[in-house]
Amino acid sequence: MRGITRDSVVEMFERKAVYVFAGVTLIAVVIILLMPKMEIEFHATGNVDIGGISDLLRNPITKAFSTYLSFMVFLAVLATAGLVPNMLIKGRADFYLSKPMSRSSLLLNKLFGIWMVYGGLIVFCGIITYAVAVGVHGFFEWKVLYLFALNLVSFLVWLCITITTGIISGSGVISIMTAFLFWVAQVILRYHEQIKAFLESKPLGDIVDVLYYIVPKPGEIDGLANSLALGKPVASWMPLYSSLIFSAALICLAVVIFKRKDY
């Protein structure tokens, strides 16, 4: 990675993003510590569904933890949206581009550097928060690992969007705005069946369908992660692989544009 990951770590501390993550984690830990301890007492006799009762405890903790991780991903998207445009500002791009690395290698190293460093930060904060929750409520669920894994995938999808927009526009603000537009689009397109019914036009309905399958679906990936963490069956893996295909296509586009651009 030729030092780009290490540079991303130094840059993260310099930009003080790490303190925001630490602050949010601290708040989460304080909330957990202030929460009354959840306990289930068994007084019933006869035929009791133990699994169903333990879900009472498992569901709110897992769901709260999932929300926390999603928020951390949101913070990471905000914190990283400006990194690539910042690398390519006038006077700084010359420094990076005059080194013996191909542009594709530079961009991909930067993408994975940012993903590993900020993803690592999300995981680190998540482990602390979950460990405190386990300590307080005495409840551990290994399936929570799905939440970590899929939130990292979700972060990668958002990174591909912000980095590509950053390469095209050279602006961190536009990258954030584009990420927000994609977020709105995926929320709206989640109701594509209802929209189709409302449109009453087959061609328009088909366009909505195509858009639904094209646009990445980090929101649905979160839902998928929740299902896995709660031990529920997964209805479809399509949101995951369609998002990954979209991200791969986007990053290929970013590489092509980056290779052709003059700085």
Binding site: D7, E14, R92, L97, S98, M101, R260, D262, Y263
Partner: protein, 308 residues
Amino acid sequence: MNVVDVQELTKVYPARLRKRGIVALDNVTFSIQQGEVFGLLGPNGAGKTTFLKVLLGITQSTAGVVSIAGFNPGDPRSRQKVGYLPENHRFPGHLTGLGLLEFTGRLHGITRADIDDRTDHLLELVGMNRWANTKIKKYSKGMSQRIGLAQALMCEPEILLLDEPTDGVDPVGKIEIRQVLEKVRAEGKSIVMNSHLLSEVEVIADRVAILSKGRLLRISTVDELTSRKSQYEIEADIGSLFIEIPSEIGKIISISSKGLIAELVKEENINYIIDRLRMKKINIKSVKPMKVSLERSFIETLGAAGEG
């Protein structure tokens, strides 16, 4: 051996609101040899920075053939042994001076041990050891230039490309940077430098190219550019003697008891004047071609091209 070869290089930047783009380089052809210190001169917008950026693949040529260190600029191997100090650089502000050198070393694929060796040496060379652990964003312009030069030298370059290397540096710093460049030259490395400070280029460069509006106006050695071969200054004890020369030989521009300045029709006519002086038993102390400053020569070249 040529380290840089450029043939019919043209670069046109697309202009959004104009039909025709902006021509930054127009059919430029020349070569730079190994061990040569080459100066690129030209007014603002002449295409000097674009030229360096094309060599590094930072900007892509519109037409023409470019080779640096034997490679096409699009090939990352072309930059393996090339150091570059950009104009108006903004090195990553989160790094310290030492951090920048280490990061540069890693980007060049240099081993950890070599990085450690070179950083100490380079920080001392550019006089930045005291500030090695200070963040770059806190550096003055002169300090930034010094650390920029150090990062350009980090890969032990065979070719050093410098864009306004002494910009913002104080007079002492300029001398120190010149000394560094002379050391680099003594190691047989090539230096290509853009500079508005012609006096500086005059001192250090072997050859210069004068660019204007993207066109190559002139390329020659500094000596050729600054000497006036048709004019000679003769230092001699003339005293009150009157000297005259035929118009087909040339004319005396000025004369005093200590010598004269003559403009000759042909260079070899200097012998006629020397013979005349010797016939009159005048003691000749020195004969030297008249020189003008590089700055004057530069202005004249621009003027002759109608761009002064």
